[in-house]
């Protein structure tokens, strides 16, 4: 049977193709946004641009510590620099917050489904954000700003715990003055000299400012906040087929192979994280799914 050795497939797969291997990026700049939140500006060591669509995320790897999913929060029209805004809440994100300009971070991505902003062409576009949930919406807001003429009213409804937790505070006035994207902001608890609104973000939805029959909403925040926001939107007439949410689950691979991010039939890393709400539908209400 000498010639049977030809039955053995000789090919080994080159490791470079492996989607589990991170690409090294240099931290060009670190911006401290809030007490626990920071923004990293990254450039690829090999200089290659990083194209992505609003709503997509990367797996960010901190050397020797671990890897976590973080949405891209930069401008999709500027692929030369990759921007991530992260809140330090645990092991990996805290270690990430200690990194400095010049350090190297690992990047795998972009992964997941985008915010389909073209769904709002010719209509009012409503962004609803809670806390650090504004970070994944920022690329979509910037994309609307760039093609502002394609949309009717554009509105950001944003809620955070306290005034000290408001993200991108300096940018919001620019969005308003230069791009006619209004921001309505509310906090759960007023501190300091806050004279703005106090209360949950659903109150902002109820006070309107958009044409409910011709509006598309993009919602991102903690799951409970999204639940109430979707209900409030439905109550004012923005039906679930015009509401998009971004889901969060434990993620170990980002490519549909580790099973961790499952939500019923969905792999949130691959089929999501952005979903049209009616397609998630009843699954959203099932306990501990």
């Amino acid at each position: 049977m000498d010639d049977l050795s030809s039955l053995i497939d000789p090919a080994a797969t080159p490791a470079g193709d492996d989607p589990m291997r991170p690409r090294p990026f240099r931290i060009a700049r670190v911006r401290k946004d809030l007490a626990d939140t920071f923004t990293l500006y990254l450039t690829a060591l090999d200089g290659a641009p990083f194209a992505f669509r609003p709503g997509q995320f990367n797996m960010l790897y901190v050397f020797g510590v671990g890897e976590v999913p973080i949405s891209i929060s930069g401008d999709p029209a500027d692929p030369a620099v990759l921007v991530h805004t992260t809140r330090a809440v645990g092991t990996v994100t805290e270690a990430m917050g200690r990194l400095k300009a010049g350090d190297v971070i690992g990047v795998r991505g972009p992964f997941g489904s985008p915010w389909p902003i073209e769904a709002a062409h010719g209509q009012d576009v409503v962004f609803v954000a809670g806390g650090v949930g504004l970070a994944p919406l920022r690329p979509a807001i910037l994309a609307v700003a760039r093609h502002r003429e394609r949309f009717a009213n554009a509105l950001l409804l944003y809620g955070s715990r306290t005034p000290e937790d408001l993200l991108y505070r300096r940018e919001m006035p620019v969005w308003r003055s230069r791009h006619d994207i209004a921001s309505h902001v509310t906090v759960d608890r007023a501190t300091g000299r806050w004279t703005g609104r106090v209360g949950v973000v659903t109150k902002l939805i109820r006070s309107g400012g958009f044409d409910h029959r011709h509006a598309v909403a993009y919602v991102c925040g903690p799951e409970v906040m999204m639940r109430y926001a979707v209900q409030a939107l439905d109550a004012v007439g923005v039906t679930a087929d015009r509401v998009y949410v971004s889901m969060e689950r434990n993620m170990k691979c980002g490519i549909g192979l580790c099973g961790h991010c499952q939500l019923g039939p969905h792999f949130v890393c691959r089929d999501g994280p952005v979903y049209r709400f009616d397609r998630l539908g009843p699954l959203f209400d099932i306990w501990e799914l």
């Binding site: 049977m1 490791a15 492996d18 589990m20 991170p22 020797g64 190297v104 434990n250 039939p265």
Partner: protein
């Protein structure tokens, strides 16, 4: 292409009859060609898959009986047909060979500039393995894992390389264990696809022999080189009758086991069913079922650093949806209740797998039933939910 010399008289044909010398020649030929032959063997009182070098390594004269929460390996009855492969299923299937329980994903080293880089691994080709004695449900499980690892938007290159080098030689089942329900899952007891060679042990005490069918070019090449004779209608009829006996044993009318029909739709609409709490009262969350299941693919990653912090290694390791930390997010796990975790496992296997991969995630091997320390039975749980819905 090299020109092959055909010794067999069924050259170009897909079926032949091998006697035990023919089987021995197959093992020897595969070894000579550079394959490690992996087949069932007795070790530590159980049947496991391991390297075999000779026909004498096979578990001839042994029998395995399985029941919920029970696996028993014992000498075969004196009047039993002289089978080499009467041990039904090994404790674990070939999953651990194609998808190792722990695998290094990559290694990175710090460099002077305050950065780090991944080391270039010279990708070693994985071992070339020939699996002998795979059951039809195992072949079906490989086809399921092929869909998971090879046919999605991202492929697992390590699995792909191992898979391409694997030769799959099935042995059709002529006896079903009490935990088997492949007939109701459409995966057995006779292999219909996915093999290089499929053998059926013909229970003839006077002339122990195998009907050998080739299912691929590789299988045809292997078969052509073996001492053999062509299969006649008697051989085929004997093989058909032998596997029909296993089907008969699995028929619920004969006290056998079956999965209820339309289980996927049933589970999709009963995610809120109180029965999940009743299973949770018994389930220990031990993860045995996911570890023995030949299709379960969930994995986690582990990071390891040398003490001087200079080198970091990332590993992939099998994980289980029964672990509380599996669904951990900042703030707590999604599936804290045992009922939610059992539901995740069962609905994934039997319902959501169809949505994800167009096929059932359960092939009916019955391992999760046999290896569950408290004997939880996926077929009985499905029946219980269906019955309560009718009421």
């Amino acid at each position: 292409m090299t020109q092959r010399t055909h010794r067999g008289d069924t050259a170009g044909n897909d079926a032949a009859v091998l006697d035990r010398d023919g089987l021995a020649a197959l093992i020897a030929g595969l070894s000579a060609a550079g394959f490690s032959v992996i087949g069932p063997r007795i070790a530590d009182g159980a049947v496991v898959l391991d390297e075999i070098t000779d026909i004498a390594d096979l578990p001839a004269g042994w029998r395995v009986d399985q029941a919920p929460g029970r696996v028993e390996t014992r000498p075969a009855d004196p009047d039993a047909p002289p089978h080499l492969f009467d041990t039904v299923l090994p404790a674990q299937g070939l999953k651990r060979y194609l998808y190792p329980p722990r695998r290094r994903l990559w290694q990175a080293d710090r460099d002077a500039a305050g950065g780090w880089h991944l080391s270039d691994e010279d990708a070693q080709p994985p071992p070339a393995l020939a699996f002998l004695g795979l059951r039809p449900c195992e072949l079906a499980a490989v086809a399921v894992q092929d869909r998971v690892f090879l046919e999605g938007p991202y492929a697992d290159s390590d699995y792909a390389a191992r898979r391409r080098r694997a030769v799959l030689i099935a042995v059709n089942c002529t006896r079903a264990a009490a935990t088997c329900f492949c007939a109701s899952m459409g995966t057995g007891p006779r292999a219909t696809a996915g093999y290089d060679l499929a053998l059926t042990e013909i229970p003839d005490p006077d002339a122990p022999r195998f009907l050998a069918e080739a299912g691929s070019d590789r299988g045809r090449a292997l078969l052509a080189d073996l001492p053999q004779r062509s299969a006649d209608p008697t051989d085929r009829a004997a093989a058909d009758a032998a596997t029909a006996e296993a089907t008969r044993q699995m028929d619920p009318a004969n006290g056998g086991r079956a999965m209820i029909g339309d289980v996927a739709d049933l589970l999709r609409r009963t995610l809120d069913h109180p029965h999940w709490d009743r299973v949770a009262e018994r389930c220990l969350g031990c993860t045995n079922c996911t570890l023995v299941c030949p299709t379960c693919f969930c994995a986690t990653v582990e990071d390891e650093t040398t003490l001087d912090g200079a080198t970091a290694t990332r590993w992939r390791r099998w994980d289980s949806c029964f672990a509380v930390g599996f669904s951990y997010m900042h703030g707590g796990s999604v599936r804290r209740e045992m009922s939610a975790r059992y539901r995740q496992w069962m609905t994934h296997k039997l319902a959501h797998w169809h949505d994800q991969f167009g096929v059932s995630g359960c092939v009916g091997c019955g391992r999760c039933i046999a290896w569950c320390p408290v004997g939880i039975d996926i077929t009985a749980e499905a029946q219980a939910i269906a019955a309560s819905e009718e009421r």
